[in-house]
Chain length 473, copies 3
């Protein structure tokens, strides 16, 4: 017999009755606040076409979600069996019912993981499924979701409204035409979908396809990129375009938090080597470190909030990268150092309140040791929410535990869902709202804060902090 999805009303709260009561009281005040999603990877295309369809349940929930398929892969299921496209075009499973069956039969692998929690709520609240997927009920659940997806109520725009999303920020390459954002604006639909400027492809001179990205950047900006000066001008031009299209923020990702200030001459020398294909690994590292600082300088000029995600070793699995490309669930965190690494950047701009620099880490040992003390001191520095693997019940608890006492709540910025999986957005924000209510409830019960303070803090965490930090007001 299949098991029922539980989704208890009081889930994720501490069992202590008094804590649970206060947590629940706080949660009820924020549970239905509009969703502010200032950072994520939803494809804007789905909102440009009013009739966009998500395809099959496997296309919606398995094939594009590396959280899901990496766990199945870790237990010996080949990606081909899950319908993941190979770069060489070799055949992969195309029967989405079979893919779904494999997923359902292995659903136990997700027990206790955030993926389970998100899927559970998504299946139940979005699609009306009330059983845990398993061998027996797999096809029945497939049918149910498939039927939903075929109705107009499951078009992305309708879900956006149903999810009560106030604003959703996408992440877009510096060279994007933002055509879908434009189409959305011109369509008359009222949903607020804002672009975010992400120049990773052009500032990492060792990125695959960098030369082509630079050419495209030149084309899109109308500036012939022949030296460092024109490179910077092209970036500024694109930022200005993004800003005109509603962007509030930029984003970048680096493996290390190293920052360094190069002279224009040094920067130009490296760029010239890169343009001639002779740049070294050290060149790339120094240029990136410099561009982080330069990015902060531009943010001071144009007011775009600066997001920075540090510490992910991308595409760690060489075989999968070769066979399937990036984003195969093999981005693995590395040790990160901030205190010394950020000093060149903070020496320049850390005291400048015109800059809002939001930092994300995958190395939790830096929470209490480095990031909370830095964010609790520098006016320009804010700490982003727990990221990636740490966007979980325990990840959030550790973040509250290790960050808040030193950084103070007001040097943090609420929550990011950071997802490509659009229908999981309500579940992800719900987990945050529950865990933050529970954290605050615990503080009230232990006499650390009063209930009125907790009420204000709950609203800040669910709604106001991200709106202020990302200038979405």
């Amino acid at each position: 017999m299949s098991r029922k999805l539980v989704l208890r009303e009081d889930r994720f709260f501490d069992p202590d009755p008094r804590t649970k009561e206060i947590a629940m009281y706080l949660y009820k005040q924020v549970a239905n606040l509009p969703i502010v999603s200032p950072h994520g990877h939803v494809d804007p295309r789905m909102f440009a076409d009013p009739d966009y369809s998500f395809g099959s349940p496997a296309e919606l929930l398995i094939i594009p979600d590396h959280y899901v398929f990496r766990m199945l892969y870790s237990q010996g299921i080949r990606l081909e069996e899950l319908g993941i496209k190979r770069k060489d075009g070799a055949p992969v499973e195309s029967d989405h019912r079979k893919i779904w069956q494999r997923f359902a039969e292995n659903f136990h692998l997700f027990r206790g993981t955030p993926t389970y929690i998100w899927l559970e709520q998504e299946l139940h609240d979005v699609f009306g499924v009330d059983e845990v997927p398993d061998r027996e009920n797999a096809q029945e659940i497939f049918d149910r979701i498939q039927q939903c997806l075929e109705t107009p109520d499951y078009r992305p725009r309708r879900l956006f409204e149903r999810f009560n999303i106030e604003v959703l920020c996408t992440t877009d390459p510096a060279t994007s035409t933002l055509e879908y954002h434009k189409a959305i604006m011109e369509s008359g639909w009222q949903g607020k979908i804002l672009p975010t400027f992400r120049p990773d492809d052009v500032i990492h001179i060792d990125a695959p396809g960098w030369r082509e990205s630079i050419d495209l950047l030149g084309e899109r900006s109308g500036i012939d990129i022949t030296n460092y000066r024109s490179f910077v001008r092209a970036l500024e031009e694109r930022r200005s375009f993004f800003k005109s299209m509603g962007a509030r923020a930029t984003d970048m990702a680096t493996v290390s938090a190293h920052t360094e200030v190069l002279s224009d001459r040094e920067a130009d020398d490296i760029l010239q080597r890169a343009l001639h294909g002779t740049a070294s690994e050290e060149d790339a590292a120094r240029f990136t470190a410099h561009m982080v600082v330069e990015n902060a300088r531009m943010s001071i000029d144009d007011g775009l909030v600066m997001q920075w995600h540090v510490g992910s070793y991308r595409n760690h699995n060489a075989l999968l990268f070769e066979r399937f490309g990036p984003d195969m669930g093999a981005d693995i965190p590395v040790v990160t150092e901030f205190t010394r690494s950020l000093k060149p950047l903070l020496d320049r701009f850390g005291n400048d309140r015109r800059l809002t620099l939001i930092l994300f880490t995958l190395d939790e040992s830096t929470y209490a040791r480095e990031l909370a003390p830095l964010a609790g001191h520098y006016p320009a520095l804010f700490l982003g929410p727990p990221w990636w693997f740490h966007d979980s019940l325990n990840g959030m608890r550790r973040y509250f535990d290790q960050v808040m006492e030193t950084a103070g709540l007001y040097n943090t910025v609420g929550f990011n869902d950071d997802t490509r999986a659009f229908p999981s957005i309500p579940a992800r924000h719900d987990v945050w709202r529950r865990t933050s209510s529970n954290w605050l409830g615990g503080l009230v019960v232990c006499g650390v804060i009063g209930l009125e303070d907790a009420e204000e803090m709950a609203t800040e965490m669910a709604y106001s902090l991200p709106k202020r930090a990302y200038k979405l007001i």
Copy 2:
């Protein structure tokens, strides 16, 4: 007046009544399952001789247990006073009643430590002691244990049966004749004591006595080790012998997680230098890093599970090492890096499901940052239980908290007791079964998993995971 040993039936469970109730319910289902002990350091000799005796209480519980005497030593009691043998043969305390008295008088030093917990249960359940050792009752408890040890019921084989151990794996050097395992097999006794192949003495070319170990390896394998090729053949021969004697796994220990693939030529060059006594420190590090990968290759060939313990700086205390030798409680953990270090190995074999690589760390900061993401992705990689200092109530809690959400339960392998202290085995497994039941109970109460899932998971953690991972089925 002496204090009573407490050993409450509900010990180590959360005080919340509902959590405790479910934890207890789960615990009762696993408490009496047979013990699977896939990794440890019990001396097989004690099972080869049906009349083997443990000696005095001090010989059983103090002299061989560096967990115990290192704590006494840290508070100023000299090892000589505890009867630890000196390498120079200088006299040490030989009155075991005096040693026991010192131990009992300082028993308060163990308050709140896992050693206390294990000793408490061992004293009570194995020897029927019901008081906390102290100055007054020391000799009385000594008598009680001594009397037990003199009876046939306290022969190792009888305890093995009483402890309900289904299988116990020892750890044996690559050059071992496995004579005791052979004697056990031939004795007709049914206890399952399996060897584990540990080549540390021969693959670390900077290990003390390496040359002698190589000679012995040559002798035991019947292969004259003159170059890298014959070295590898000799190892393969020994693995094959171990396998024929029932071994399911290998084990190795390194300070760093560095892996590297040398060409046969490079490997041979280093080995030649080692054989001529001219190898450098760098040679040793590279050769070890290479042999880790080579070990994985052999495991794919012969199916032996590969265990790898990383990050212990052995014999940190120079004075004690010189005076008493190794294993004096001075093996201290060091920072460990896995993400970059394992890449050469994982690039070769990480996707190969024929390999089962079980990793152990002493650096808990790698749990959530590196190991859980790696184990939650690579098909060949599994994460071993909390090791050494972390084999404790809080160590287990931190492991559950930091590993499970990302790795998923099914990429872990249950528990290892890892002990030389045979009579402590039931207590150690009991702590694991209690803490894992408590962890699962907490997940049920918080609505993360359902009760039926928790029941399955509890059995996996106590019994099935290690059996499958170590191919003990």
Copy 3:
């Protein structure tokens, strides 16, 4: 309407009724024990003058407290607006009522931080304030505190007695005349204020003003410092003087835990270069690493306890350092390594029970990995309490969780308040006594220790451990 300060009698205890009951029971036994403050930064001058006044509320609670103003600064309030003196003498806010108003209006920034907890108790218990500072009540609270400060009851000596402080150790440069300590001794007042020898200014050859400090050291010791030998003699002379003035301990602070034994010749070569202004950065690092070991050697000779604070990157904010000087809330922790770094020191003196070396870290990842195993083994090594940013509810919980199982309680030394803010001392010790009672209560409820053991341990933690470790008996 302003909010009331709460200060519940049962604050900071776990909500579980049974845990709370036992925690409260334990707390009541230690709450009123005399305060032993073996390490801190209170200015001895305030006890030398019986009529010393703290000045205005802003001078007492804001201007000298970088915990307070760094948080306000992080949210965009300039230090000048808070009355912090600039080095260039440029005008800063001098209206203390305005400073206080800014502080009160931003009091919400401290929610959930230890600063809030200390201030809350200080305002309530010391000054009889019963409202949370805010925009409306700011001036009223200012008046209240100002009135208190003007009465004789608020002279430091009277507060010292009211706070029930048994002994308070200050921290004093090696070159100090200890004139205030002398004045206190000669005044006939019975308060026990002991100096601590801190040679940082003279052993870090790269410290600002090092040459002047060396000249002063020569002057104060009456020894002409021309080489390493006379340098050591001068230090020994000063230690002897401090000891004669009641000192029980020394203290030093370094960024790294590196230790190294230089030959006298090497040490002299470096010192000569330093005296001639030609020492390199490496010279400075090696000389410091050597002087740590030398410091341990001196402690063995003269019996002074050795404290060592590792891992703070001082004055990280270049702009603030230039404009305002040190101690502006910009000392940021860095990653620290102990296992390998301490080996040269421990090889020399780690087994020598005449040495008491108390280590402090800001890198919590070293608690369970390195420091607890080291302190749980080496007779000379003890672990200091959670320091700086970790001197908080969660910081203490993490310390208990990660240290105690491996180090054992008796290799720790109780609590340090480490504060310059004299009136916050009772609040800080109260937080420690509450959290340690709660930790012990949790152990009792979970069946890890018995209640009688917990009672002894509570007294050790609140009172006896520091007295023994710092030889204050």
